[in-house]
């Protein structure tokens, strides 16, 4: 598995197709941020696309390539807020059949919504490993490789995130 930094370098060296791997890797984390701000899948669609396009356009401005995830999440928040300001929209965005079937009304149920809000509240390092592990479906080893952290660090961060999430959900 290539690291984020390696994929970014390749994309900047002209191998544009390597950016597709970063899109696949961060699709769900970015979508999660967008949904947490915009509230539903339909509204999140455009913000997700805009995030990756803006990310690509600004890729060479990223000085620390191991910070790609947090940096992209910042862009995702901005894009989602931008779309939130543009509401109401006349035309709903095009949505894939699979996504539409999975989420017919476009909204998460109440418990998932609360859990997502709690994930978004996590400290940056923990939020990143949770999103890559559970939303993007990567193994702990793959998360560690992608983020250039040790497996032990990722495991500890996941464990701390679990505890923190339990606490946030209990309090809410």
């Amino acid at each position: 598995m290539q690291t984020d930094a390696e994929l970014i370098k390749a994309a900047l060296d002209g191998q544009k197709e390597t950016f597709a791997e970063l899109v696949r890797r961060y699709e769900r984390p970015v979508r999660a941020i967008a949904i947490s701000i915009l509230g539903d899948h339909h509204s999140a669609q455009d913000a997700v696309q805009d995030t990756f396009v803006a990310g690509y356009q600004n890729l060479s401005m990223l000085r620390n390539r191991t910070s790609f995830g947090p940096w992209l999440m910042t862009i995702a928040r901005r894009c989602a807020l931008d779309w939130a300001n543009r509401r109401p929209r006349a035309n709903p965005p095009e949505m894939s059949a699979a996504a539409a079937i999975e989420n017919p009304d476009g909204r998460l149920d109440e418990e998932n919504e609360a859990l997502l809000a709690a994930v978004v509240e996590l400290p940056e390092a923990e939020r990143q490993v949770v999103m890559l592990r559970y939303f993007a479906g990567h193994s702990v080893n793959q998360v560690a490789e992608a983020l250039e952290r040790s497996v032990g660090t990722v495991t500890k961060q996941l464990s701390r995130a679990h505890k923190r999430l339990r606490k946030i959900l209990k309090e809410s």
Binding site: A11, L12, K16, E17, F19, A20, V23, R24, E27, R28, R31, A32, H41, Q45, V48, Q49, F52, V53, A54, Y56, Q57, N58, L59, S60, M61, L62, R63, N64, S67, T74, I75, R78, D82, E94, S96, A98, A99, E102, N103, L108, D109, E111, N112, L115, L116, V119, V130, R133, Y134, F135, G137, G152, K156, S159, R160, H162, K163, L165, R166, K167
Partner: protein, 412 residues
């Protein structure tokens, strides 16, 4: 999904509910097909001559005009993210000035009277990486001395005449992450990064008076970092070195001074003995080396909730059995005499221990640290009574597979 489900499976279900879009990759790749990311063009954009956002604020009128530009630029940067350009000419100059720096002496001021709380000495290698560090805590901060090198940390407590030696990944990353330890160069680079990401607003105030420093105010636009919401850097005009950083927190609608760090003796060589405690520790200093000694208890197959209870239980049982060597080994490797002379000899029975309580704040060096309540029966002057205690239990620095008691407090 129910609230009783394990958090792991709830997160997996949430991941599935968030879903994915098989059209996303093709849509994104279609949109970026015509975009060319050009490194050279980017470098030109960032050069000082064409940077449209560089701000010199010299008088009230230009300050006002600059403020208007900043507001407009801020609004535009939200909508046209790709067009935002990091300024920071002075920042770059400062980063440049630190190349080749080998030694630095720092003082950290805090508290009500702005007293020196900690003093730092650093030695860097050719690439600017920290090779050696020493911290002297003031009396108010406990008086401990830390000497850190890449493979070994020594922590000396002169009051208890105790020296602990360890090599710990979490401790080292925490040390290297400390603002004072990062050194002004890395702080400036960090601000540069944060500004690039649009997370920090930088204002540079440079008067024509050569004796006055450049004042760089970096304000976090969102939630700030773990230290502050605003940093003010004072930069020497001739050397471009940072001489002082003030930290401010946003409270009750205004930025309030919190603490400061001053930087001295740039590149003045530091005596090698400063990074070696050999001349300072005493012949009878109690030495705990977690690299070679088995401090605490091994976790084995127990969970993070089970092992702290076992640690406290075995500690109390050791006290009852008057096995002070074992009690000391569990309690941070302390000398047995500390327990012989202390309240331990009064313990006659363990009444209850646990359950584990998660502390409100996550400890930086001991993220797994928990609180274990315990009730014991003691005998004093022929009277039997109950006492409640709380023990802080955590993994041993440098041996994260082992757990120890770090401190305790009597509740009544």
């Amino acid at each position: 999904m129910t609230a009783k489900e394990p958090i792991e499976s709830r997160l997996e279900k949430l991941g599935r509910a968030i879903g994915s879009d098989e059209l996303l990759v093709s849509n994104v790749m279609g949109r970026i097909g015509s975009i060319k990311v050009d490194q050279k063009k980017f470098a030109e954009l960032k050069s000082p001559d064409v940077s449209g956002l560089r701000r010199f604020i010299m008088n009230p009128l230009t300050r006002l005009a600059a403020a208007a530009v900043i507001i407009i630029a801020g609004v535009l940067s939200i909508t046209f993210l790709h067009k935002s350009v990091a300024p920071a000419y002075a920042l770059e100059q400062t980063i440049q000035s630190y190349h080749g720096m080998r030694y630095l002496h720092t003082k950290f001021f805090c508290c009500e009277n702005d007293a020196v709380a900690k003093e730092f000495w650093f030695e860097f290698d050719e690439s600017g990486r920290i090779k050696k560090m020493r911290i002297n805590h003031s009396e108010w901060f406990g008086g401990d001395v830390y000497v850190w090198t890449e493979n070994e940390t020594k922590s000396w407590d002169p009051k208890r005449n105790s020296l602990m030696i360890f090599n710990d990944e979490i401790y080292t990353s925490r040390v290297l992450g400390m603002d004072e330890v990062k050194g002004p160069r890395l702080i400036v680079e960090h601000l540069y990064d944060q500004e690039e990401k649009g997370l920090v607003e930088v204002e540079i105030d440079e008067t024509s008076n050569k004796a006055e420093p450049i004042v760089l105010t970096a304000t976090y636009l969102t939630e700030g970092d773990r230290f502050c919401d605003r940093r003010v850097l004072f930069i020497d005009k001739s050397t471009k070195f940072v001489t002082k950083i003030e930290y401010y927190v946003f409270k009750e609608g205004k930025y309030t001074y919190s603490h400061a760090t001053e930087y001295f003796n740039y590149n003045v060589p530091i005596d090698a003995n400063m990074f070696n405690l050999a001349d300072e520790i005493l012949p009878d200093t109690h030495i705990i080396d977690t690299r070679t000694q088995d401090i605490g208890l091994a976790q084995g197959n127990l969970t993070d909730e089970e092992i702290p209870i076992k640690v406290v239980r075995e500690f109390i049982e050791a006290l009852i059995a008057k096995d002070y060597a074992k009690a000391g080994q569990i309690y941070g490797g302390r000398p047995p005499a500390e327990f012989e002379q202390d309240w331990a000899r009064q313990v006659i029975r363990l009444i209850s221990v646990g359950p584990v309580v998660q502390p409100e704040k996550l400890h930086k060096i001991h993220p797994d640290r928990v609180l274990v309540p315990c009730t014991i029966e003691i005998e004093k002057d022929g009277q039997i009574s109950r006492q409640s205690h709380e023990f802080f239990v955590a993994t041993v620095v440098g041996r994260r597979d082992r757990w120890e008691i770090q401190s305790s407090k009597s509740l009544k």
